[in-house]
Symmetry: C2
Subunit: 187 residues, 2 copies
């Protein structure tokens, strides 16, 4: 039978389970430490998704009440592994962005007078720069452990994130500066 088409979040779960059996809670922790920078997932997605994967035979679950706490641990099956590999081999969909800060910057021209507009634009750019800084810092903190892992894909994603955010912070501050100068000149 053809695999029922899965959401990307289902593949995130399969991806983490491919590295070893885990509880739903642990999957969520793994997401929060890694993919959340480019693919977040909430419990409200993970648990129902785990159930669907189980129903589809891509994951097996067993109770683990031996430890201090009772929980279920989930294990990827051969079909699950096949589904993961097939998904990896398929080309990814076109990347769609939804960036509220760019939206505000785009419409900042409507914020009022020329001076008001350019200061609105500059403050959006400054907010974006700070955000880029913060994310870059969080990602840099992860670098040593990811290097230690020795997983080239994971390191490549991390580097993309770090360098993108460093570029973004620089770029936004440059453009914000230009906008400020324009405002001063027109004053």
């Amino acid at each position: 039978m053809p695999a029922p088409q899965l959401s990307n979040t289902a593949y995130v779960i399969l991806g983490f389970l491919d590295a070893g059996p885990r509880s739903g809670y642990e999957i969520k922790q793994a997401v929060d430490r890694s993919t959340r920078f480019f693919w977040a997932a909430s419990y409200g997605q993970i648990y129902p998704e785990l159930k669907r994967l189980r129903d589809g035979g891509l994951v097996e679950s067993e109770r683990d009440d031996a430890g201090a706490r009772k929980r279920a641990i989930h294990r990827i099956t051969r079909e699950g592994r096949r589904a993961l590999r097939d998904w990896l081999a398929e080309p990814a969909a076109v990347t769609e962005l939804r960036d509220e800060k760019l939206l505000k910057l785009f419409f900042s021209d409507s914020a009022g007078s020329g001076k008001r507009a350019s200061s609105t634009g500059a403050s959006v750019l400054e907010a974006r720069a700070s955000e880029h800084d913060e994310v870059a810092e969080q990602l840099r903190a992860l670098e040593p452990s990811v290097i230690a892992l020795g997983k080239p894909g994971k390191l490549a994603v991390l580097r993309y994130g770090i360098e993108f955010n460093e570029w973004g912070a620089r770029h936004c501050r440059n453009v914000a500066g230009e906008l400020e100068r324009e405002r001063e000149e027109s004053a």
Copy 2:
């Protein structure tokens, strides 16, 4: 009364209407020529959203059956303008990404043997590089008309898009090259 909280797409509509009255169809065209690179919108969103804005008094609509085709044109009200300005003054939400290609790159380590994994990773990076190239090209094509507009916010967004995509294409090809070399060395 406090404005009922609006979706970002509602503000996109208000933003375009702030530049002059338009039909729903024309709003969709405007989106497709500009914001779609960072905020897309479908008819299935635009028309119901226009109705909500009308119900909330932020937009007024009138029939325009004078032209060749019958249509409704929508006009932003004073309250609509106020809502737009208030939204612009508020800080934007934290930017959330959902990037399927980064997800595949992240899990490419699970694609099979070391060689299979790094070639999967490299092909995802090549796909991402091509995508960056294409978007950069589309954005560069818009540059002259946006410069002519003389709207600094719109130009700032465009430059962000162009330079980000140029950076992205370069970066992805560099990293893909490194991955390929690693694979050759380990062969």
